[in-house]
Amino acid sequence: MPESAATFRRLYTTFGALIGLLVVTAAVSSLPSGWWSTPLSLLIATAKAALIFTIFMRLRDQPALVRIFALVGFFWLAIMLTLAAADYFTRFWPA
């Protein structure tokens, strides 16, 4: 598929968005924090990763099968994290 000027423009704007998000997360972290600051920083990181996946890694214009392959890794990682957390977070509950 021919690389139109639009592709280049999209790359630059994505880069701008990524730097913007970096500034935001850096700024937020230096403010007084609350319970929300860690989930927020993770959310921003996920947004940056999503941008890189879809634009830079061109998942946008790949067939559905490739997108499934891209996400399956995260799904299995989630399995590992949640079930291991099931052990660690319920260890000191009253029997």
Binding site: T14, M57, Q62, A84, Y88
Partner: protein, 211 residues
């Protein structure tokens, strides 16, 4: 290696199918990398919930500005890699050469800054093991261990990337890549962007743990 009598014809019907197969193979490999780093993220996730105070203290010992600068450098290298990929699809080999070189330089800058941070940790007696400053909060040494393991593994992947880029630069100088045949560039691009994504998660988890 001598190929069998008749050269084994491509198993694919057409180039499009070949291209998708390459992407599938690369993404399957990246899934293994997600789970490979995933083991470390699990360790981080468990130990941070067990020693929250120590992790917050540990995060403060890291150099916030260098971490942020490094993230920007890596995002820049991702941009130049993506541009390079777009240029080769238009057949502009010289532009690809410049982009690859930029990516390599930015990668090297990242590693240099990372080395300086390691040295700073060494200077502050924060290297895990006997040299670790006595009387530290329990779990602080675990944070430092995780910091070195995660950033060390990430840096190793960067070094592998720099090595591959050297090979790609040499191949491109020999005119191997054309709009029709640029799979190595695209595949390496996926790998490089992925390594950048790992850092995108490492940065907040290690540097931005709130007080």
């Amino acid at each position: 290696m001598s190929a069998p009598a008749a050269p084994l014809p491509e198993a694919y019907a057409d180039a499009r199918q070949r291209d998708v197969a390459n992407h599938l193979g690369m993404w399957a490999f990246l899934a293994t990398e997600i789970l490979f780093f995933g083991g470390l993220f699990l360790a981080y996730f468990i130990y941070r919930s067990t020693y929250p105070a120590a992790f917050a203290a540990g995060s403060r010992t890291l150099n916030f500005w260098r971490g942020t600068f490094n993230t920007a450098v890596l995002l820049g290298s991702s941009l130049s890699m993506a541009l390079g990929d777009a240029y080769i699809k238009q057949g502009r080999r010289r532009a690809l050469q410049v982009c690859l070189a930029t990516t390599a330089v930015l990668g090297a800058v990242f590693l240099a800054v990372k080395a300086s941070e390691y040295h700073e940790m060494y200077a502050k007696h924060l290297l895990p093991g006997r040299g670790f400053e006595a009387g530290a909060a329990p779990g602080l040494q675990l944070f430092v261990l995780l910091y070195f393991t995660m950033t060390g593994l990430h840096a190793f992947h960067m070094l592998v990337g720099l090595g591959l880029m050297a090979w790609l630069l040499r191949q491109n100088r020999r005119g191997r890549f054309t709009p029709a045949r640029h799979a190595p560039i695209e595949m390496f691009g996926l790998y490089w962007h992925f390594v950048d994504c790992v850092w995108v998660f490492l940065y907040p988890l290690l540097y931005l743990i709130p007080r």
